[in-house]
Symmetry: C2
Subunit: 356 residues, 2 copies
């Protein structure tokens, strides 16, 4: 079934209001959440709405947080999310980073006591309108095993980087530090298909191609898949994201990150508060005139886009191209939702008295 | 053949002096270059000395550069390397980043008009002694094809991140953004062995397992290997390194980066000056008390090191473990060099009147 953006926007906004979010926070949370559906990261959009609500029902999300800067220097800050929705804590923190950048050239904000923040790319892209480079990292529930580890110790810990250009659309990388994100496994599960090699290991730590591998106690694998293909690099990247997001801020890190699903309880002996994020904003003209930089970005993008393709492929893509095209398409023709997601939203609507 | 660190240090220092480097720059260049041999990145150490000398002979390296800050804000700077050895330009720029961090909390420096800077990790690790997190990126000669590209448009563009701990040794990630670094191909070439899948494509853009694939006009592949295994992520990371290092500073980027080998001429229509680097320094106590941070890093490291290993593997490693162990071993028992490297150094020694 396909829904207009406006329909899902209204539904989501009403729902956030019903759980007690102040008006402006409900608006922000809605925009951030639905940016995932627009950009094709379906696993992180409205499909997760009931997950957020269940965490609120468990008392694990504070609908009326007092988000505040708890420490700062000219170019850094630590933000305490007060247990709020990551969907509102993250834009607050990114804004702090951008304000810092205005005076210090760059701004870097580590966040504790937050929850899942939607897609990483949304927050990084906030910097674009100010001619800044935006960076957004977050840790997440442990589903990933480091190289040689049987245990799950890291989240899919994404990295997003948004870089402005002039005539060209911006460069926007937004990627999990695993070979494949969990959403891709769910698609294969529904189709009853196997995964490619290097995506998953089973609960004994052996490679598997079962799309149910993670569900059955196994783990997602760091980008690279195995040591021979560089999984120690994906592991290192995911670790850096974890440390910047949580060890710098005082959030939970590694295996202590609270699970997103409400039916699993957080560790009774946490090492910090909530989950952690990390944001960066670099003013382009803190390095060279913005116009000059953006012209060279146009040149960079044009050259890469014009590269001769490999056999069987049409063209070389610039990071952000597929998501941008999908957003245009979905704003125009609507957002397709899977039947179980529609059913889930309908049940949620009945419970809270909001029509889908 | 095995050489003591002191022997190679003396030889390298004398050689840098012979090409006209001022005393302190010759010392720095020697220390940086040999840190690669100590840490087991043999392709980036003394084996490259004759390569640097040939670039100097061609007039492409300035032995007496006036390295300077050409632009700055409280937390950023652009450094002009004046065509000097990256081995001396990079530590200068990293020092600038660290000075900025002392007052602004963090420091970020983009560098133009430089040359190859040895191993990325050396510069990142400079931050550790000041209880800072160090970041070091560089672009490099185009040997890597983006996902779906037949053409080589990126270098192996490494990312290094060094993070201090308390009782534990520091976390030090230092990795090319490709599945495998070029040095690994050279080892397989010498052994007459094939590569694993996902390392190389041939000159037509088809996957190959030939260790000579790159030599014969093919390319190294971004971390991930192919689209199904996430090569678009390795491509995005290598691109970010390129843009931060060169588009921010005004160096050459992408396919315009000058080749390291002296027998290939740089592009006659450059888009910037020399090659580019990017450095970051973040004072840990710009976020939370350093002692608190470092205690949590100890906890992070201990927990990951104690993870149950997968079948057939002894233990989970922390990024930096293998290099640190090798450094202890090689400082004690010497640095093994391959016969062709020894021959190359002997010829260099004869030419410049320095004994190996």
């Amino acid at each position: 079934m396909t829904f207009s953006y406006e329909k899902l926007q209204d539904f989501t906004y009403q729902l956030f209001k019903k759980i007690g979010c102040p008006d402006s926070q409900a608006q922000t949370a809605t925009e951030v959440l639905l940016s995932a559906d627009l950009r094709g990261v379906d696993s992180h959009g409205v499909a997760r709405l009931s997950g957020y609500v269940r965490l609120w029902e468990k008392g694990r999300i504070n609908a009326v947080p007092e988000i505040k800067v708890s420490y700062e220097t000219p170019s850094t800050a630590v933000v305490d999310g007060d247990g709020g929705l990551g969907l509102v804590v993250a834009p607050f923190a990114m804004q702090v980073a951008m304000e810092k950048a205005k005076t210090a050239g760059t701004g870097w904000v580590s966040v504790r006591n937050s929850n899942h923040y939607g897609i990483a790319g949304y927050h990084a892209m906030m910097a674009l309108q100010e001619d800044m480079i935006g960076i957004s990292l977050t840790n997440a529930s442990p589903l990933v095993s480091p190289t040689y580890s049987k245990e799950r110790l890291l989240g899919t810990n994404p990295i997003a980087v948004a870089i402005p250009a002039k005539e060209q659309p911006p460069f926007v990388a937004d990627m999990a530090t695993t070979t494949a994100a969990n959403g891709k496994l769910e698609i294969l599960q529904r189709k009853g298909m196997d995964t490619p090699s290097g995506w998953v290991q089973d609960k004994n730590g052996n490679p598997t191609t079962s799309a149910n591998g993670v569900k059955e106690g196994g783990a997602l694998l760091p980008l690279g898949g195995d040591r021979e293909h560089g999984s120690h690099k994906g592991y290192a990247l995911g670790s850096v994201v974890d440390i910047f997001s949580a060890v710098l801020s005082g959030a939970n890190y590694g295996p202590w990150v609270p699970p997103f699903v409400a039916f699993l309880d957080p560790d009774p002996n946490p090492v910090g508060e909530g989950i952690g994020h990390f944001f960066g904003a670099m003013r382009v003209d803190a390095f060279r005139p913005a116009d000059e930089f953006k012209s060279h970005m146009d040149n960079w993008i044009s050259r890469f886009r014009a590269a001769k393709p490999t056999p069987g492929n049409e063209k070389v893509l610039i990071p952000g191209d597929p998501e941008r095209e999908l957003e245009i398409e979905r704003r125009r023709h609507g957002i397709p939702l899977l039947d179980p997601v529609v059913k889930d939203l309908q049940e949620l609507g009945v419970k809270f008295g909001v029509d889908l």
